[in-house]
């Protein structure tokens, strides 16, 4: 445990709390009718995004999902840019064209949230092929859900990654539900990591709500990838605190189940406890970090609210079409 010193602990906690605070604020704003479209919250899954991205540089790649806010923040997107994007403002990361399900920041290797479940497998694999071809020392990480693991795209990508020993890590955020359906109803073998054997790649199955475990497992996989050891498939067990989308009635799971997980499995609470137990962090520090994060979220939201919408006249910018500005 010693490898987590005070500085690192503060940094990791700040990242997790930033995601939690962002998602919480977004939920409130959405329920208050302040945000357009619909949004998916990753609250409860912060340890995976933060633990994995802890090992990544700006030039490493990630592909994300419909539940992508946490991945983007962990990879380093500016809070102003992601908040403005959720409002559909021109200052957004995608100039308002994308929205919550398509948040992307290519300048830091964040190749996009994706509204198509399973859409990231092949894209991450292609990015890994480019890395290998150009002999760059980077890695591509594909975040996906337990439900996405049932898409054929999973199979096609992992087989190819296995054949070419590509520098890619497939991280399953296994929160045990796909929308309203529990994984056991639709997935023959729910420990996704078992499938690594079908593709001759490394596999691991871990507690995805324990930040330290995530850091260790992801670290090994990413090191393997960067050292030419090929791909890894990691099944990370977690739980989403909110409904599938904000507004979900959640009839498919019991309040008790949700509360129990929040109480006993919350990745932030567990990390804080652990760090305090070993004396790396103090309660005062934790509160101070939480407060600082709150201020940042306020500032980013204020920025986004004040930012202007795109010009309707620019509706055709960024796509080829007759007479459109290229």
């Amino acid at each position: 445990m010693t490898f987590i010193d005070r500085e690192l602990a503060r940094d990791l906690l700040r990242r997790m709390q930033t995601i939690r605070a962002f998602e919480t604020r977004v939920e409130d704003l959405f329920k208050a009718g302040e945000l357009p479209g619909f949004v998916h919250s990753s609250a409860g899954q912060e340890a995976i995004a933060v633990g994995v991205c802890h090992h990544l540089t700006r030039t490493d790649y990630i592909t994300s999902t419909h539940r992508g806010h946490g991945h983007a923040i962990a990879k380093g997107i500016s809070l102003d840019a992601i908040f403005a994007e959720l409002y559909g403002k021109e200052a957004g990361a995608c100039h308002g064209r994308g929205g919550s399900m398509h948040v992307a920041d290519f300048s830091i290797g964040m190749l996009g949230a994706n509204g198509i479940v399973g859409g990231g497998f092949g894209i991450a694999t292609g990015a890994a092929l480019a890395i290998k071809y150009q002999r760059r020392g980077e890695v591509a990480v594909c975040f996906f859900g337990d439900g996405a693991a049932n898409k054929g795209t999973f199979h096609e990508a992992l087989n190819f990654a296995g054949v070419h020993e590509l520098p890619v890590v497939f991280v399953c955020e296994n929160n045990r539900y796909a929308q309203f359906t529990s994984a056991s109803r639709t997935t023959a073998v729910t420990d996704i990591a078992v499938r690594a054997g079908s593709y001759g790649i490394a596999g691991d199955s871990i507690d995805g709500n324990d930040l330290v475990t995530v850091i260790e497992s992801a670290g090994q996989a990413i090191e393997r990838a960067k050292n030419g050891g090929g791909a890894t498939l990691i099944n990370m067990l977690t739980y989403r605190h909110s409904g599938h989308f904000v507004g979900d009635a959640e009839q498919y799971r019991s309040r008790d189940e949700v509360e129990a997980s929040k109480e006993l499995q919350d990745p932030i609470v567990r990390f804080v406890q652990r760090m305090m137990d070993v004396g790396v962090l103090t309660e005062a520090e934790v509160d101070e970090i939480e407060a600082a994060v709150g201020v940042q979220i306020d500032a980013a939201n204020d920025f986004a609210v004040a930012a202007p919408y795109p010009e309707p006249a620019d509706a055709l910018r960024h796509v080829w079409t007759v007479g459109s500005p290229q």
Binding site: P36, G88, G99, A148, N150, K151, Y309, A313
Partner: protein, 326 residues
Amino acid sequence: MTTKRMTFGQATLEAMQFAMDEDPNVIVVGEDISWGGNFGQFRGLIDRYGESRVVDMPISESLIVALSVGAAVAGLKVVASMSFVEFTLGAMDEIVNQASKFRYMFGGQTSVPIVLRASDGIRGSSGSQHSSSLEGLFCNIPGLKVVAPSNGNDAKGLLRAAIADPDPVVYLEHKKITGQRAAVIEGDFFVPLGSATVAREGADISVVTYSNMVNIALEAATVLEDEAISVEVIDLRSLVPLDVDTIAMSARKTGIVLAAHESWTFGGFGAEILAQVREALPEQPELCTHRLGARSAPIPFSPALEPAVVPGISDLIAEIRRIVGR
């Protein structure tokens, strides 16, 4: 013939029940289907018919369609919920290469009685992957039938007809009307595939349209009435088979046809409507034909841009004014 006010979703639920009560070989498959599907149009079926007839599918769109085809040729009639129409693209191989070709390619040995229900259209900032209308693709594929009701009553009668039909039917339901209420005929009835209806009579121009654009056209007609512009609105209801006679009769009367739809203008179904009416009225070369559809860009997320790409009531009104020259 008494009617009852209910939502589009409830109306289709009634049709599902008549079909499933009548024929034990009718089953329903889809993601989260036991929870009613993404828009609740299947809610309650699980309690009435049980898990063997209401089958929760993994996130495996290719399988959903291929399995429907296999079950159909083995004696069942399958209604598959495809959720958002963009997800059918993950099953396009199964839809086009298998479902649409089986009856012909196998010399009439089998037919493929499946109904693919998909939600299309804009709902307000759902983003590029959850807002499209793709009838332009399906209508170009021989062997497929395509319907797109504009109200609950037609939705009910068309779904009955679609399930009874021996061929694969793509059943497109616009997100904005799934929750809309309308007067729906009580009891069991069919709206035959291939029968359009005159939704409103008029003398100056024929707006030929379908799905939610019918409702927009009816609103526009009311507004334009005050300007002494008399608009006839043709609700196609079914795109394949296409009721050319009804279109032609209206065109012969008004001399002006405006084909309107939410989907992209370029390469879209509007061009087919115009070509059909001209081919039906060779003796009327002076006929005026126009079309209104989305501009050539993915549907943007920003509330400021979506209406600049997808036509709404103001665009339709402006276009009609321009055409009739007032």
